[in-house]
């Protein structure tokens, strides 16, 4: 076998093997959709701790029937028991903000707003709190006041 022939065989082998050494950069079908960070949260924190000092929260995910009209929610829980909130509500003639203020209270692992029905609570480390009602669920994320 001549040296020239040997060199051709080696080059051919190298070219045929080379593509398998370079990883494919194709996005898998299951990874095409945008994934929100809140979708992979583990709700294993104590909500009473997360809410104990109040704070400003914004919705990271709204689900359930209420999500058909609610685009965004903000809550400001004050340590004295007062809260104020704003929601961007989609209506037939466009979206508009609603604002509220009232009283909030923690009762065990439940939250009451204005003395209404208790709202189920879950929490995750990193300032996440989830409010659950039969009409829908809102995952809130703590944000800094500016």
């Amino acid at each position: 076998v001549s040296a020239e022939r040997l060199r051709r065989v080696v080059c051919g082998l190298a070219l045929s093997v080379l593509p398998s050494c370079i990883a494919s950069n194709v996005v898998a079908i299951r990874d095409r959709a945008v994934v929100q960070p809140v979708d992979s949260i583990e709700w294993n924190a104590d909500p009473t701790v997360e809410l104990a000092n109040g704070g400003l929260f914004e919705s990271a995910r709204i689900s359930g029937d209420a999500a058909a009209h609610l685009l965004k929610i903000y809550y400001l829980f004050e340590t004295g028991g007062r809260y104020t909130a704003a929601a961007l509500v989609a209506g037939e003639s466009g979206s508009s903000f609603q604002t509220l203020e009232g009283i909030w209270e923690l009762r065990g692992r439940q939250l009451t707003l204005d003395g209404g029905d208790p709202v189920g609570l879950r929490a995750a480390h990193g300032g996440y709190v989830e409010l659950a009602t039969p009409a829908g669920t809102v995952a809130l994320r703590r944000v800094a006041e500016q």
Binding site: L18, R32, A33, S63, A85, V89, G102, D114
Partner: protein, 354 residues
Amino acid sequence: MLRSVLQWAGLAAVLGLAGAGVGALAIVKDRVEVTVQAGDAGGRPDPLALVRDELQQVHADLDAIARGLDQNLGQMAAGLEATSRRIDALASARGDDTALASVRDDLAALRAKLEGASPMAAAPGSEPPRPEPAPPLAVAATGEANAQAPPTRRFLSFSLPSSSFAFDAPRLYRVIPALSRVGFDAKSTLHDFSGVTSAVQGDVHANLADPGFSWHGSVRCDPKSLRTGVDGRDENMREHLLTAQFPEIVFDVTGFDADPGSGGIDAAHQTAHGFVRGRMTIRGKTRDVSMPVAISIDESKRVVVSGEMSLLLPDYEVPVPSKMGLISMQEQVRVWVELRARAAGPADEVRRER
């Protein structure tokens, strides 16, 4: 004789009584105060005080009536606004018995509330209507929460429209760029790769449960924002796509054909499978296309559209990249979309295709 004596005696008696009267008056004249009062007023309150009380009561009643009128006018305005929105919704959803029943309920509730609160409806002499107290603790500070009278649905103290997501109604769906992606998968000699972007936007008018509705609208993406993971390749791609000259890749939607073989339209489960027809424009060249898609609703009541199709780069006069003839890209690529869109109002027109 006797007669004369009697006359003089009578005259003397009269003069005596008159003199006694004058004398008594002279004695007590400084101690007597004459007042004039009605004959039957003995022991009753001062009439001037009664008049003052009546005037104060009239003032109070007028104030209460004014407050009641103010409240009722506010309720009427809010009710008319809410009813107007309902009617608009009804107009956009012709034949929707649910919406019609909702309007009827709202009107009945509004009428009952106005009748109950109207000062004109109060019985004579009854206490004027008082403004209703604000809800305990929670106070709506802006229009909508108060304007919804009565509240249609409460959620975490907010007041929301009573209607639910309608899969089978003609709606305008608006793409949410932050939750959407479009891209392509390409094969080349060395390795395969994808180009991806979230710079996508669009509006599509559709009735997800009715292929007969003329779907229309467009979805557009910015080809400059496509990323393949290799900067040099991105730069070559922008040159091949002439992004400076043609800054958008556009998919004009013209219709939808359900595909019974893959499930067709299932309004009960809010899914649809079929082909979105339209015209794809790349690098200024437009071709008719039909993209297989799967449509569903996520837990946040957003429309999820997943689809992909093949296209040939030469059909759009896009040069197929090649490096010295050794490293070449295939001319066929898979274009895919993974969109989320939200209902943003009624469809702007309802046309029947067939």
